[in-house]
């Protein structure tokens, strides 16, 4: 069973259709990189996958369950927010602008959801949070507030925060786009390690080097449609479509 299966997903904002029928399939342990020009809908499809945005047509299945709706016979029922929240627990998300909780320390940021949402005992959650901080190389920053950390450090804390919920799937929305160039490497290193450990990942990125090294599948999107799908060697190094070629040339 695929970890993620999106079938013909469409999304409109007002009269503006930003996704015009997107289908994706990601097997467990695979890494998929979404690339494409800004405004192509790659961030939107990512946000649809954990139902931060509702969709107007199509179906999204994560780990075999339909996201955001209950299917009864031929009718679809909107899910209660409580049930959607339960679905999201198993999908980690990392944002372009980190979105750490500024009133909590790095350690508290990581432990908050396990304690409050999953009911993990406090001691155990803090212990686990400390281990996760060590894993992203920030053991010495446990008691720092986000404002006292660099962008790259904040993003690594954000990754640890998502991992604390023991997700089956990780979504990355341009995780290095807001970082100074010299800080990008540390964040990519953590993500590569994660991929190596077998995490299923969907990454919206402009880092072609990362995509080439880590991705099993690269999807090129433009204007709300998938233009090209394939291995990094196919899509990045030997693109078949004119638009893909033009885009790859502009970012490399």
């Amino acid at each position: 069973m695929p970890m993620v299966e999106a079938i013909n997903v469409k999304k409109r904002f007002g009269s503006n259709e930003v996704l015009k029928g997107i289908s994706l399939r990601v097997e467990p342990g695979q890494v998929l990189c979404l690339i494409g020009p800004s405004g192509s809908g790659k961030s939107t499809i990512l946000r649809c996958l954990n139902h931060l945005e509702s969709i107007n047509a199509g179906r999204i299945y994560v780990d075999g369950t339909l996201m955001g709706y209950r299917e009864e016979g031929s009718a679809l029922h909107e899910m209660h927010p409580r049930d959607i929240a339960a679905q999201r627990q198993h999908i980690g998300m990392v944002f372009q602008r980190f979105n750490l909780f500024p009133h909590l320390t790095a350690l508290q940021n990581i432990a908050e959801a396990p304690i409050g949402v999953q009911g993990v005992p406090r001691e155990e959650a803090l212990e686990q949070a400390a281990q996760l901080l060590a894993r992203v190389g920030l053991s010495d920053k446990a008691d720092h507030y986000p404002s006292q950390l660099s962008g790259g450090q904040q993003q690594r804390v954000a990754i640890a925060r998502a991992l604390a919920m023991k997700p089956k799937l990780m979504l990355f929305d341009e995780p290095t786009s807001a970082l100074d160039p010299e800080l990008v490497g540390d964040v990519l290193e953590v993500m590569k390690q994660l991929a190596k450990e077998g995490m299923t990942m969907i990454v919206v990125t402009h880092e072609m080097g990362f995509a080439r090294e880590v991705a099993d599948q690269v999807v090129f999107m433009d204007d709300g449609r998938i233009v090209e799908v394939g291995t990094p060697a196919q899509v990045i190094d030997n693109p078949q479509h004119e638009r893909t070629t033009a885009f790859i040339r502009s970012v490399l």
Binding site: L52, R88, Q89, F95, E112, Y145, S147
Partner: protein, 303 residues
């Protein structure tokens, strides 16, 4: 080689030591103001119409102190009730449900749109509209409790209701502004971690909104403390009423108003302490934690 604008052999390695600019006119204006304040104090101190001894006699008077204590706890209870109601109203206002939103808008419009004085009188004389207060199940004959409204609505109870509801209307706008000041990315991050709406509000949004909410709420508390004086209209024996009652018997109106004014000033000065504490506490991770609570004037920006 670069050509210098001024021909000189010096390389200006020394730090600049310049005579500070003197703002003479500021000092002149300041001196005039000081003179004015002095003249006013002198005029009061030597006035044959103001009896300083009366002030001294009544400032620690038992009835006055008792009134001041009543003022404090009426303010505290009303402010707590108002804050809880305000949070509910703000959440309703931000809801997508038209009924909840509409109720909140109407509530705020009504209680902000009529004078507080009028609302106090309304609650104080509620018995004129509904002589009987009944608690039961509507449309049936089942009654759990019934009493005369004038017995249920003691002056203090009526006063607290009036102040709380009025304040809730103002404070709800403050709380709403606070909630809206929190970046939407915070709610999205909370959602992506599987947090529900209530949990997100309690643990993520409100603690951050507090930073924006507390300073104006401090203002509201000060305003509320002084508004309690209006409860004299429905015969609540708070500070102002007590001062008025005493002055009605000894005809020392000015002295007793001074006594009341003195205590209002003291109480408001004390209120700023918990406010700075709360601002400090909710500034965590955002405000400069090393910032001093005050800085001496005339010291300039020296480190």
């Amino acid at each position: 080689m670069l050509e210098r604008c001024v021909l000189t052999d010096q390389n200006f390695a020394d730090e600049i030591v310049a005579k500070p600019l003197r703002h003479v006119w500021r000092w002149v204006v300041g001196a005039f103001l000081l003179l004015g304040v002095y003249a006013l104090c002198w005029s009061i101190a030597t006035s044959p119409n103001i009896d300083g001894a009366v002030f001294g006699k009544y400032v620690f008077n038992g009835l006055i102190i008792d009134g001041a204590i009543k003022t404090v706890w009426i303010t505290a209870v009303s402010m707590i009730v108002a804050t809880v109601l305000a949070t509910l109203l703000a959440i309703m206002r931000l809801s997508t449900n038209p009924l909840l939103k509409g109720f909140s808008i109407a509530f705020v419009a009504f209680f902000r749109g009529t004078p507080l004085l009028l609302q106090i009188v309304f609650w104080g004389f509620l018995g004129l509209i509904w002589p009987l207060t009944t608690i039961g199940i509507p449309f049936t004959d089942i009654v759990f409790f019934q009493a005369k409204t004038s017995d249920v609505m003691s002056p203090i109870f009526a006063g607290i209701i009036a102040l709380s509801l009025n304040e809730a209307a103002y404070a709800s706008e403050i709380v709403r502004a606070g909630i809206l000041s929190v970046d939407v990315g915070q709610t999205e991050a909370a959602k992506s971690l599987g947090m529900g709406a209530g949990y997100t509000l309690r643990r993520i949004v409100l603690p951050q909104a507090m930073r924006v909410i507390i300073p104006p709420m401090g203002n509201e508390t000060i305003s509320m403390l002084k508004s309690t004086a209006m409860l004299s209209l429905v015969a609540v024996t708070e500070l102002y009423t007590r001062a008025q009652i005493i002055s009605a018997t000894n005809y020392k109106q000015v002295e007793l108003m001074a006594v009341a004014g003195f205590w209002y000033l003291i109480m408001n000065a004390i209120l700023s302490v918990p406010q700075s504490y709360l601002e400090h506490r909710y500034g965590k991770g955002v405000a400069n934690q090393n910032e001093r609570w005050f800085r001496l004037p005339f010291r300039g920006a020296k480190q």
